[in-house]
Amino acid sequence: MPTYNIIQAVNDALRLEMRRDPTVVVLGEDVGRFGGVFRATTGLHEEFGPDRVIDTPLAESGIIGTAVGMALNGLRPVPEIQFADFIFPAMDQIVNEVAKYRYRSGGQWSCPLVIRTPYGGGIRGGHYHSQSPEAHFVHTPGLKVVVPSTPEDAKGLLLSAIRDPDPVLFFEPKRVYRAARGEVPEGDYAIPLGQAKVTRAGHQVTLVAWGAMWHEADQAAREAEAEGIDAEVIDLRSLQPLDVDAVVHSVTKTGRAVVVHEAPRTCGFGAEIAALVQERCFLHLEAPVLRVTGYDTPFPYTLENEYLPRAPRILKALRESIAW
C-alpha cells in the first residue's frame, strides 16, 4: 500500500472516480491548469481536460450555482471552495437551493454534488484562512457533512460522498493536509458515511472529535493514559449522518464525555453532541459533557496556539471529567 498524505489521498480519490465515472467533473478557482492552491487537483486537468476540470471565475456563488445545474442535468460535480472561509458568498445557493432541491420538487430532482473545502486553523491563516463552519451546514436539513482526519478515511469517504445521492459538504483538515500521512489502499474502496470510528478503546471517558482535532484528541488520550486515565476516542468522520449510536454506546459505558472542536464554542456542533448525550445517556452520566473548543472570537493570528483546543487543553478537560 502506498503512503499518502491527505492531499494525495484526495487527489487519488478524485482521479479514480473520474476514471470510473465520466459524469464526475471538478470546478473551482485555480483547480484546473494550476491544480489547486493546495495542489489537491494536480494532474486532473492534464488527464481529463478542461471540460471536466474547470477553472472558474472568482465567485463561489457561481461555482455552486452552476454546479447545481450540472447536478440536475446528470453530472456529478465536485466543486472546490478554495478555503472554507470563502464559502459564505455561496451560502444562499447551498442553504436555499442545494439543500432543498430534492424536497421542494417533491423528489422530481435531486442535487448530488460534493463541495470540497479545506477548513480549520493552525496554519497561521488568521480570520480568513482558518474558520471551521461545519455547524452552519449540519443545521441545514438536506445536507450531509463529512470531515476526514486521515488519508485512508479521506479517500474512502470522498469516494462515498461522490457516489452519495445527496449533496455533501466535504471539509478537509488543512492543518494536517501534509502532516497526516498513512497507508492508503490502492484502487477502489468506500467508507460508508455515518459510521464513526472508535480509534482507541477505553472505559473511563469518551472523547469525541473529528478532522484535525481528532489528532489532538488522540494525542491527549495517549498522555492521559500515562496518568492512568483510560479514554475511549471516537472519530465521528461524518457529522451528518451522525453515528449517534456509537457515541451513546460509548458514553453508556464510560459515563463521561468530552467533545472537541475548533469552531467557536457557542452553538458549535459540540453543543448538539452534548444535547444528544444528555438526552440519551442521562442516567449513565457521572459528569456533565464537557466541551473543549475554539473560543468565541474570530480566529486570531498570533495567538492561534492558545486559541486552538489542542492536546494540553483536552487533557485538562479529561482530568476534570474524571475528577468530577
Binding site: 471536466r52 472558474t56 445545474g69 430534492r102 417533491g106
Partner: protein, 400 residues
C-alpha cells in the same frame, strides 16, 4: 484615436443586426444601440417577411395566452375566496412567457422564475396538477412542501421554482454546460425579472456563461417593477440589454408584448447558442399590469395613471387584432375559444379540489434526503405520537 470600425466592433455586443424596430421606440440614448425589436405594428399588421410563425401555431399560442390570462383571473378569485393561500400571475406578460417558451426546442430545459406557469402547462403539466400544487393537497406533485406557484414539472424539463430571486440563473447555465459536456445539444432558457438583475446570481450566471460560451438564453421580463421599486431605482442603466456588455455577450431588446417579435428574437438567440456563438441576454420590455402578487396592493405605491398607457398595449389585444386582420378570429370564434378555456379551467379546479386536503404525515419527511436519516425517522414517530395524543397538533382549531 477613435477608428471608424469602433461602432461595428461594438455592435457584436449588441442586438443590432437583424430585426430593425418597426417604429422609433420611446426616446432613449441607447435605443440605437439596443433597438426595441418589434414585428406587430400598432395597426395589427406585420411585415410578412418578419413573421416567424405559421397561422396555425400563432392561433395555438393565442389560445395559450387566453388560458394564461383566464387562469390568473380565476386563481386570484380563488385566493380571495380563501380557497388557495397565495397566487402570483403573469397579467400582461403572456407574450413574453409564451413566446420565449414556444421558441425553444422540446429538449431544452426551462428554468422558471415564478410567473411562467403557462410555460409549465405548454410543456405538458396537467392543469389539474397545477391547481393541486396551488392547493398543496394530496394531488400536489410537490407533496405539499412548497407554497403555491412554486411548481416543478420534470417530464417537461421545467425546473423547480424557489422564492429567492435569481438563484435559478446559474442553474440554467450549469444545466446547459452539462449538456455540452455530455455531448448533447440543449439550450437552456431562464426567466427572471429586471429586479433580479441587481442580484448576485444574475452577475455570476451571465459571467460564467460568457467566459465559457454556455448555450443559455437569458430572458429578462422587464415589467418595470420589483414589487414597489420601479426600474429606475433598480439600475441606472437605461436598458437591461446593455448589461450584456459587462459579460462580453450579446444583448437584445424586444417588445415583450409582441408575441411574434418575442418568438423571432428567442429563436435567433437559441440558434446562436446552439451554433456555439454563446449566450444572449434578451430583455423583453413589458409591464406588470396587476399587483406583485395576491399579497400586494399596488395602490400604495403606484398611481393608476402609470398603468393606463399599457392597457392599449395588451399583448392579447395586439395579437388578436393581428389574427383578426388575417381573418383567423372574429367575435364568434373568440367567444368560443374563451368559453372553451373557461371550461377547461373549471374542470381542473373541480378535479383538483376532489383530492384530500393534506398529503399524509410521512410526506413531511420525504425527500429531505434520498433515504430518511435517524432524525427524520424518529421525528416522524414523534409527530405521529403528538397528533395521536392531541388533534390540535394537526388542527389548531380542533375543539375538545
Amino acid at each position: 484615436m477613435r477608428r471608424p470600425s469602433d461602432v461595428a466592433d461594438l455592435r457584436s455586443l449588441r442586438g443590432a443586426g437583424e430585426a430593425e424596430p418597426a417604429e422609433a421606440p420611446e426616446g432613449s440614448a441607447v435605443d440605437g444601440a439596443w433597438p426595441l425589436q418589434r414585428v406587430l405594428r400598432d395597426d395589427g399588421g406585420a411585415d410578412p417577411a418578419a413573421v416567424p410563425l405559421p397561422d396555425g401555431e400563432t392561433l395555438a399560442l393565442y389560445r395559450w395566452m387566453l388560458l394564461s390570462r383566464q387562469l390568473d383571473e380565476r386563481m386570484v378569485a380563488l385566493q380571495r375566496q380563501g380557497r388557495i393561500g397565495f397566487y402570483i400571475g403573469a397579467f400582461g406578460e403572456e407574450a413574453t412567457v409564451l413566446g420565449t417558451a414556444a421558441a425553444m426546442a422540446p429538449g431544452d430545459w426551462i428554468f422558471p422564475c415564478y410567473r411562467e406557469h403557462a410555460a409549465a402547462l405548454l410543456r405538458g403539466m396537467p392543469l389539474t396538477t397545477f391547481v393541486c400544487d396551488l392547493l398543496g393537497n394530496a394531488g400536489d406533485r410537490m407533496l405539499g412542501h412548497q407554497m403555491p406557484c412554486h411548481e416543478a414539472w420534470r417530464p417537461g424539463l421545467y425546473a423547480s421554482i424557489s422564492s429567492p430571486i435569481a438563484t435559478q440563473i446559474p442553474h440554467a447555465v450549469g444545466a446547459a454546460w452539462a449538456a455540452r459536456i455530455r455531448g448533447e445539444e440543449m439550450v437552456s432558457l431562464v426567466y427572471f425579472g429586471e429586479g433580479a438583475t441587481s442580484a448576485n446570481d444574475f452577475h455570476t450566471g451571465l459571467n460564467f456563461a460568457g467566459v465559457h460560451r454556455v448555450p443559455t438564453v437569458f430572458v429578462c421580463r422587464n415589467n418595470g417593477w420589483a414589487i414597489s421599486v420601479p426600474r429606475e431605482r433598480q439600475t441606472a442603466a437605461e436598458t437591461i440589454a446593455q448589461k450584456a456588455v459587462a459579460y462580453g455577450i450579446r444583448g437584445e431588446r424586444v417588445d415583450g408584448n409582441d408575441l411574434l417579435a418575442v418568438v423571432a428574437a428567442t429563436r435567433r438567440a437559441r440558434a446562436r447558442a446552439a451554433a456555439g456563438e454563446g449566450p444572449t441576454l434578451l430583455e423583453c420590455v413589458t409591464f406588470r399590469m396587476e399587483g406583485h402578487s395576491t399579497s400586494d396592493d399596488p395602490k400604495a405605491y403606484r398611481p393608476p395613471e402609470v398603468v393606463e398607457p399599457w392597457r392599449k398595449k395588451d399583448p392579447i389585444l395586439r395579437l388578436r387584432s393581428y389574427l383578426e386582420g388575417r381573418g383567423l378570429v372574429g367575435e364568434a370564434a373568440d367567444a368560443a375559444l374563451q368559453a372553451d378555456v373557461k371550461e377547461e379551467i373549471q374542470k381542473a379546479v373541480r378535479e383538483a379540489e376532489a383530492f384530500e386536503a393534506k398529503p399524509p404525515l410521512e410526506t413531511m419527511f420525504q425527500g429531505v434526503y434520498a433515504e430518511p436519516l435517524w432524525q427524520q425517522r424518529e421525528q416522524l414517530e414523534d409527530v405521529r405520537a403528538a397528533v395521536a395524543a392531541d388533534p390540535r397538533v394537526a388542527n389548531p382549531r380542533h375543539q375538545g
